[in-house]
Symmetry: C2
Subunit: 102 residues, 2 copies
């Protein structure tokens, strides 16, 4: 174990796009895929790959529904995801010490 605590930073969450998804969902609780794509300004392909990693970790849940003739994909943060995100923020704070002003 290092003194710096970098190994406590979850690599699953730390990736920039995945971090964007988690930070957004931690606030919003749930979002449509369309909303996430717009907020994060990413292609569907790239977003899908990163969301898959978060889903595999159990941090988000993805629901697909047919509304009228359109498919609606809703993404929400799970309780496990919320706990992991809180732990991630704590680990990040530990590494950055008091250097981060929010």
């Amino acid at each position: 174990m290092s003194d710096s605590g970098i190994e406590k930073i979850s690599e699953i969450i730390h990736g920039r796009l995945r971090l964007g998804v988690m930070a957004y969902l931690a606030n919003a609780e749930a979002a449509s895929l369309t909303e996430l794509k717009a907020v994060l300004d990413v292609t569907q392909g790239n977003l899908s790959i990163q969301m898959r990693k978060l889903e595999d970790a159990g941090y988000i849940a993805i629901d697909k529904a047919i509304v009228g003739r359109k498919s609606l994909t809703t993404v929400r943060i799970t309780p496990e995801g919320r706990a992991a995100f809180v732990a991630y923020l704590e680990a990040l704070s530990g590494v950055l010490g008091g250097q981060l002003k929010t």
Copy 2:
């Protein structure tokens, strides 16, 4: 440009080990390679690869000296590195909103 601001997060600094190096040097100003290896608990090979990326970006300066019969490598953060680290922290704060407590 995304609303979330994830693209403002420097990928050069964001990598976990590089972030550990930058955060440590932002506090300590300079450190020996031995000290960095111990604090970050990493192998010399891995640390060297990541430090090279930070050096190529102009964020750290690496000096090698011979002291007695030993070689001493000193790593310090550059003014450009400090400015980039401050910008990184601001970008990270932007993405995380008020979620990060320090």
